[in-house]
Point group: C2
């Protein structure tokens, strides 16, 4: 049996009781490193806290392990119980559909334990989840590659008054271009896009349009470390948010559409005043 | 302090460790009855299981208590720790923004514990969450009231190839029309919309259009009791799903947009074969 278990957003205490029970049944426990490295700080003592609390040794599975060696742990899952831990929800922002498909094709039974993901936790800012349009991803621009397919989607959402969730690029364990040329993989340090960079790129693309769908005065909400104790949520215009230091990863951004009065009232709690908030206590238990 | 704690979707074991810790700190624990009555079966032994597991007596707060007597428990929360338990995520499909606004305006600190909601758990069927358009609600039609504002939104989503989540009507503790006339409240029995009724209403509205955005051959996914052990997920055309008995509440429906190959592969696991599945074991731990 393969258990795919959502860990939620904050730390090791965001697993559910159902999730803990499943982990304790398993002979082997893997954790996906791709986002967990950044959000749970697994490089430091996050992993050992987790091992202590869950009562199981945990193997970190980086992207290559998952993509290249999936057959290995899927064959383990045929004969024994294997847990695969995933930050957020198993089918949230990063999808694990491919792993499920491979497992089922190999005749491995799959069970899922749900949890919160960024896709629903952004509800905390007060903007109603059913008033969001299509979600967009903002990739890191390079000198030669400046893909802007997000623009058209944002424009469409805004023309119907809908909010837009922007997921910001994460680069973990990317082989460097130089190392690929030399035929020996070396990795770039992990990078995550800040809200500031995202707004810069959004404005760059917007300024190329005749009548841009948004500009520096457009209302947004910036989220950093959503669901963790140091969570920071700030509402303001693109111009205002660009000046805020949101600190450590992960970040995401919502472009606000047409609002209802209750949405406005909630947003007001997160609005910038003269003192830029360092951390909200609109917080996490 | 007011703790608003998401319970997740299945049963009392879907609370997170962070959530349990918060409940145990609280002097008073309320549970919102509106959806929990239907999804957690609180009328039977769900409540006592929950009290046993969480180690606290729990007061069921029906809709009226929340709306009319919120000031009472918010004033409790000013001087002590009060937990308000909510099925799913605090800011998922049913929103509790209003309660937060009232609390903050009274100077009560609020902390939130996230959990899974239907808005992200539908990811289990393999359709990517970032490929959904605006969510729609399907209300019960009556003889004289047949609101169809969902149609335009579905049409718009489909014209851009996006999937649509349809949330289906729930009626709990609605005063009957007759009793309101007599000035003494009596309640209708709880009602929830089945997938079958939703499709019937969707097709009725579609058939009034020139070139309907969907018809009996449109692919959909029906979800019943999402996240609980008896979860049922079936993919098929509207015509096919209309013949399926999805059983007990809660139900929701996704109208499938344009699909990618990985989405297709996952959907295939849920497709109807000759034997109508009674229950999926694509299951819950």
């Amino acid at each position: 049996m393969l258990y795919i278990i959502g860990l939620g957003l904050g730390d090791e205490r965001d697993i559910t009781l159902r999730g803990i029970d499943a982990v304790k049944k398993c002979d082997k426990v893997y954790i996906e490193a791709y986002t967990s490295l950044l959000s749970f700080g697994l490089s430091t003592d996050g992993l050992s806290n987790m091992e202590k609390l869950y009562g199981r040794p945990i193997t970190v599975a980086d992207r290559e392990t998952v993509e290249e060696k999936a057959d290995h742990f899927l064959s383990e899952a045929r004969d024994s119980d294997v847990a695969f831990l995933v930050v957020g929800d198993p089918f949230g922002a990063t999808t694990h559909s491919d792993l499920v498909v491979r497992a089922k094709n190999l005749g491995v039974q799959v069970k899922v334990v749900f949890n919160a993901s960024v896709m629903n936790a952004i509800g905390i800012c007060g903007l109603q989840l059913y008033r969001y349009g299509e979600t967009v991803s903002i990739p890191f621009f390079t000198e030669t590659w400046r893909p802007d397919s997000f623009y058209e989607k944002i424009q469409r959402n805004r023309s119907h008054g809908l909010h837009t969730l922007c997921l910001l690029d994460i680069r973990v364990k990317e082989p460097s271009f130089e190392s690929l040329c030399r035929g020996r993989k070396q990795y770039e340090p992990p990078r995550f896009m800040t809200i500031n960079t995202a707004i810069e790129q959004l404005l760059e693309v917007g300024q190329l349009q005749g009548e841009p769908a948004y500009n520096e005065d457009t209302d947004c909400v910036g989220f950093a470390r959503l669901g963790s104790e140091g969570q920071m949520i700030v509402a303001g215009t693109m111009r205002q948010l660009q000046k805020v230091d949101f600190g450590a990863p992960l970040h995401c951004l919502v472009i606000v559409g047409k609002t209802h009065p209750v949405e406005e009232e909630m947003l007001d709690f997160y609005k910038l005043t003269d003192d830029i908030p360092q951390q909200n206590d609109n917080g996490i238990a």
